[in-house]
Amino acid sequence: MIPASPIELALGPVFFHWSADRLTNFYRRIADEAPIDRVYIGEVVCGKRMPFSDPVWPETIERLERGGKQVVFSTLATPSTARERKSVEELCADGRLVEINDLTALRFRSGQPFVAGPFLNIYNEATARFLVGSGAQTICPPVELSLAAIGTMARTCFSAEFEVFAFGRLPLALSGRCYHARLHGLHKDSCQFTCEQDADGLAVDTIDGQEFLAINGVQTLSHQVQTFCPQPSELVSNNIRRLRLSPQTVDMVAVARAYRRLLDGQEPPETVRFVLSSLGLPGMQIDGYLRGGPGCQAPSPI
C-alpha cells in the first residue's frame, strides 16, 4: 500500500476559444474547489484570441494564488507575427514559472526556470538533459510518447519533474492554416472567430461516420478523450511527478476530484473511469499512446 501519494495534479492551459466570462467563471471554481496543485493559464493555440483573454488573467492569477495554486503562464505554440513574438518575450520576463511551447521562447528564457510543454519535441533523455541544462524544471513530453519511453527519460534525468498528459482531447497537430476559417469559407486574417462556437472543438468524422478528430482553429485534436488512469505505483516507478488535466467543458472540478482519489489510492482506476464516463465527455475514452499503441486505442479492461 502506498502512503499518501506525492503525485500532484496540474490543470493544463485551455486550448479552446472560451469567452472572457467563461474563463473567469471557470478559474474561480478551480481556485475555490478543485484539488489541483498547479494551474497553467494563457493562450497557447492562436495569437489572434489573446486580446479577448488577456484582461482575464490579472484577477484570475490573484484568485488562483489565493486558492493555494501555483500559477504558470503558458506561451504560444506557434508564434509568428511580431505581436505574437513580443507577447512571448513579455511573458518570459514574468517572475513566475513560464511554460515554453516553442523554442522561440528559449531565446528569452534560457538560464531561467521554465516548463518544457508538450509542443516541444522532447523524445529522448539526451534532449531532456539538454533542456534541463537551459533551465527546464518540468517536462511534459509530447502526447504520442509511451509511459515506458517517458519513464526512461524520467529515470535518467532526475533533476526535472516529469508531467504526463492524462486527461482531455489530445493535441495532435498545429497548422499555419485555420480550419475553422477554411470550413466557413473565410480567410485566417478575417476569421470572425468562428472557433468560439465550439468550446470543446468541432467534431471531425470520417466520411463513413467514424468519430476521429476535432478542430480548434489552427489546432487538430483527437475526437476521443484521453483518460489515463494508472495505478499510482506505475507512476511512482516511472518517476512521474504530476498528471496534467486538459480543460474541456465537462465539470473539471469533478474530474480533478476523481483523479485525486485515484492518486491517493482511494479509488481504483476502473471506478475513476466510470466516474469520468458519467460526466458527459465529448468522446470515447482512450489511453493508447501511454500504453505504447496508437493514440486512438481504448483503455483495456482491468
Binding site: R107, N121, N124, L172, G176, R177, I207, D208, Q210, P294
Partner: protein, 327 residues
C-alpha cells in the same frame, strides 16, 4: 540559387546528379531519417560510393538524420552522424536537439543544416539554433508565405532553403501526431507518415474505400482512380459539411515563384520526393535546373512557365502557403 534534390536510392542519386542537381539529400536505411519506407535509402557503403560519384561530378551530398532519437537508443542517431561524416558527407540535416548537439560537439568541421522537422519559423528560434549549434542553413517550414520568408531573411544571418516541388505538409512539420494517433507510427516516432502497412483499399457496393488503420480517409466511385490515403489529404465531415478539410489532394509546385524566392533571399531550393524513382527524379530535376538557370539569366515568367510545363507529373498542384492564400 542552389538546387537540392532527393535521392531515395543510389540510382536516384546518380540520376539527380546527372540531371543537374547542385546537391543531393538522402538518408540511411533506418529510423534515423524521415523517409523510412521499405526498399528506400542507403547503407554506409552505398552512401560513401554516392558521395564519391557526386563529388566527381561537382555535386554535394547532404545526409538527413532528421527524426527524433528514441529513448534509450540515442547512440544509433549519433552513430548515423559519425557514419555520414566518415562517408565524406558535405552536411548533416538534423532536427533533434540531441543530434544537433552531437554534431556541434563532435564534428566541428561538418556543416549542419536545420531540418524542416524542427519547424523553426521565427528569428528567435532560428537564432537559437545558429548560436547554440552553429547551424549554417535552415530548411523553412512549408507554412510561410513569400513575404514572411523575405521578412524572416532580413532579420536572420543564416542561409535558408525552401521547398519548391513535391509533397506538401499542411501541418507544422515535426508538430503533427495525426499518423500515430490512427496507426501508432508517425514522422517523429518512426520516420513515416500514414505507413503503407496500415493502408487498405476495401471494395463495396459504393466503390472503394481507402483506409488507414480502419479509418476511412477517402472513397472512390467504381472505376475512379484511387489515391494514397495520406491522413491530412482525406475527405472528412465537420459541421455537417464533407470536404477536404485539411488540404486538397494536391502537391506543391512553386516553380513560378523561383524568382520571388530569390528576391526574398532564399539560398537553396528543395525538391521533395525521396520515395520517387529515378525517372521522376531525372525529369523534375532537369526541368528545375533549366528553370533556375533561366531565372539566374534574367528570363521572364513566361519562359519559366514554359520550361516547367514540360513536366508530365500528373495531379493537381498548388503554390501552398507561399502565395499567402492560407491567410
Amino acid at each position: 540559387m542552389e538546387l537540392v534534390c532527393p535521392a531515395g536510392t543510389p540510382a536516384a542519386l546518380r540520376a539527380a546528379v546527372s540531371a543537374g542537381a547542385d546537391a543531393i539529400y538522402c538518408g540511411f536505411r533506418d529510423e534515423t531519417n524521415a523517409r523510412n519506407f521499405p526498399g528506400l535509402n542507403f547503407s554506409a557503403a552505398e552512401l560513401a560510393e554516392g558521395v564519391r560519384f557526386a563529388h566527381a561530378h561537382g555535386a554535394r551530398v547532404l545526409v538527413a538524420i532528421n527524426t527524433f532519437a528514441q529513448t534509450g537508443r540515442v547512440g544509433q542517431w549519433r552513430k548515423a552522424v559519425d557514419e555520414a561524416a566518415g562517408c565524406g558527407a558535405d552536411a548533416v540535416i538534423a532536427a533533434d536537439l540531441a543530434v544537433l548537439d552531437h554534431v556541434a560537439k563532435n564534428h566541428t568541421g561538418l556543416r549542419l543544416h536545420l531540418s524542416v522537422q524542427a519547424a523553426a519559423a521565427t528569428p528567435e528560434a532560428i537564432g537559437f539554433y545558429v548560436e547554440t549549434f552553429g547551424v549554417r542553413r535552415v530548411v523553412l517550414p512549408r507554412i510561410l508565405s513569400v513575404q514572411e520568408i523575405a521578412a524572416l531573411n532580413r532579420s536572420i544571418d543564416v542561409e535558408t532553403e525552401a521547398f519548391v516541388f513535391g509533397g506538401l505538409c499542411v501541418m507544422v512539420e515535426g508538430r503533427c501526431h495525426l499518423s500515430s494517433y490512427a496507426t501508432g507510427r508517425s514522422p517523429n516516432l518512426s520516420g513515416v507518415c500514414s505507413p503503407p502497412e496500415m493502408v487498405s483499399y476495401d471494395e463495396d457496393e459504393e466503390g472503394t474505400a481507402a483506409r488507414l488503420a480502419g479509418f476511412t480517409i477517402d472513397r472512390y466511385a467504381p472505376g475512379q482512380p484511387t489515391g494514397y490515403p495520406t491522413l491530412c489529404k482525406g475527405r472528412f465531415t465537420a459541421g455537417e459539411k464533407t470536404s477536404y478539410l485539411f488540404e486538397d489532394p494536391v502537391s506543391l509546385n512553386a516553380g513560378n515563384l523561383i524568382s520571388s524566392l530569390k528576391a526574398a533571399g532564399v539560398t537553396a531550393l528543395k525538391i521533395e520526393g525521396r520515395q520517387r524513382g529515378k525517372r521522376y527524379v531525372t525529369e523534375v530535376v532537369r526541368a528545375f535546373r533549366k528553370a533556375v538557370d533561366a531565372v539566374e539569366a534574367g528570363s521572364d515568367a513566361g519562359e519559366i512557365d514554359r520550361i516547367l510545363s514540360g513536366m508530365s507529373e500528373g495531379g493537381r498542384q498548388t503554390a501552398g502557403a507561399y502565395r499567402k492564400t492560407w491567410r
